[in-house]
Amino acid sequence: MIEYIYSSRRASPRSIRIAGLVAAAASATGCINDDIELYEARVRGRVAAASPTAITGTLHLQFHHQMSAGRGALAHPLGEIDRRQVAAVTLPVDIDETLLYPTQAGQGLIVYGWLDRDGDGILCAPGQVDEPAGAGRAADFPSHSLTVDLALTQPCAGAERLYP
């Protein structure tokens, strides 16, 4: 049976056991005893750009493990957990996002962001304007309430360019 273990912000981790369909599906696929432990974390902070003038666009956020788990050499930096978009923002802007963090899949938390200035959904498509990106580490993770500030100072940089 799959067991989803969910940690609330106020209580110690408690288990939410999802029986019925999940168990049947697990039995059918052979995925027995796969436990997924999710840790709820609220991430707040300020996202700013290097530009002294206000820039606007859609803010793309990605949440990564700082280091993903894996057998031996399969461990690696980063590993996306979730992503969000905040439309029509003008930097600097405050963020407030709640994340369900899979604890067994890795450790630490990196927040990566970039601003989609031209609205094409692509960071720095050929021939388009440079778009700023930045990343920050949640220094006080694990905690249910985190502060991460992002400085979008690196044009066209993917998350892999900003950490490690």
């Binding site: 993903s68 894996g70 057998r71 050499a73 399969l74 461990a75 690696h76 930096p77 980063l78 590993g79 996306e80 692509i122 960071l123 720095c124 498509a125 050929p126 066209c156 993917g158 998350a159 892999e160 360019r161 490690p164």
Partner: protein, 349 residues
């Protein structure tokens, strides 16, 4: 009439392989290597095979791979994969398909498809050095910290004559195709005259980067321009493996027409799973030929994947070549000649 006879010949070859499958452990049949094409037997080089260890693959990807094995192989995915991923298993799959020579890929993609080391690939090539070659690769997940060390490791791996090129997969290894931080790889390729194979297009494996800077070969253009001495082989023709569409084929063709150091490799996209009717592979072959790029196409399958895949993919490709009017000389170029020229590897008689 010629076409019918040739397809029949290839198909009989396939039946021989199926017969082998049904008698596991029996020795191979005596069918000569290569394929008959319009009455002429042609050698075949499969420039894209993956050796390795089942344990070198992340768990989520193992599930995807295991689900693709035809029944009943999926029930014992670990044993099945272990059998066909070894050098001996790959040689057996090549023999089933009539493949003359192959290229084995090292992979360093811990987040997606796993790790097969340069040392592993080199050791495999030495089991049959006249038939097996290798592409080396490198880790890039800490490249800002260890770039020089990784490039030195790559250089060392490429010093062996059996290691004839470099394998990269931006989507699986998570680095942008246009990021100059990684251009030292192309510089090394140009210096050593070792072609670079690049996965282009999307990928069905968990954890893959799916955004265009990691999948669309358009983002390679700056590197292609900056390193004319490096050969860039655009793997999978930019295929969209999620929606089973030709994806970035137009971009691949445009780049190959614009730059003489660009080559095209149509592996995986024409498989039963990714192109059930074979129409996408036929279209791709037709459009590359119409664009005058036959001398840039290098055959690969992306096997062994599952038992019989290497043979099946060759059959589907030869069928597509026939259906789209490739002459004997053109088919010979696609199946072996272009590979020999680009990699400077003598064809095995």
């Amino acid at each position: 009439m010629d076409k019918t006879r040739t397809l029949g010949s290839v198909f009989r070859h396939g039946l021989c392989g199926l017969w082998l499958l049904s008698f596991i452990g029996s020795s191979g049949c005596d069918t000569p290597r290569g394929v008959e094409y319009l009455g002429k037997r042609l050698p075949v080089v499969d420039m894209h095979l993956h050796p390795g260890e089942w344990e070198g693959i992340p768990d989520d990807t193992k599930k995807v791979i295991g689900s693709r094995f035809p029944f009943p192989f999926g029930l014992t995915a670990k044993q099945t994969a272990g059998g066909i991923l070894s050098a001996e298993g790959i040689l057996a799959e090549m023999d089933k398909g009539g493949v003359t020579q192959s290229v084995l890929y090292a992979v360093y993609a811990p987040r997606t498809v796993g790790i097969t080391t340069n040392e592993w690939v080199l050791a495999d090539t030495q089991k049959a050095p006249e038939r097996l070659f290798g592409l080396a690769s490198l880790r890039v997940d800490m490249f800002q910290i260890d770039r020089d060390a990784e490039l030195a490791r790559l250089r060392s791996a490429l010093s062996h004559p059996s290691m004839i090129g470099i394998k990269l997969a931006h989507a699986h290894q998570h680095f942008r195709m246009d990021d100059p931080l990684y251009f030292g790889i192309y510089q090394l390729a140009a210096e050593l005259k070792k072609p670079v194979y690049l996965h282009t297009g999307s990928s069905p494996f968990p954890g893959t980067s799916s955004e265009p800077p990691y999948t669309d070969p358009t983002y390679l253009e700056e590197a292609i321009k900056r390193y004319p001495g490096a050969s860039f082989i655009l793997g999978h023709l930019g295929y969209d493996f999620i929606d089973k569409k030709l994806g970035a084929l137009d971009a691949c063709i445009r780049l190959a027409k614009a730059y003489p150091n660009v080559y095209l490799e149509p592996s995986a996209l024409g498989s039963r799973g990714s192109d059930p009717t074979g129409e996408n592979l036929r279209q791709a072959m037709a459009r590359m030929r119409e664009a005058g790029l036959v001398d840039r196409i290098i055959y690969g399958s992306d096997g062994p994947q599952s038992p019989g895949f290497v043979r099946d993919y060759l059959y589907r490709t030869v069928s597509a070549l026939l259906a789209t009017g490739y002459t004997v000389d053109e088919a010979q170029a696609v199946l072996a000649g272009n590979f020999a020229r680009v990699f400077n590897v003598p064809a095995l008689k």
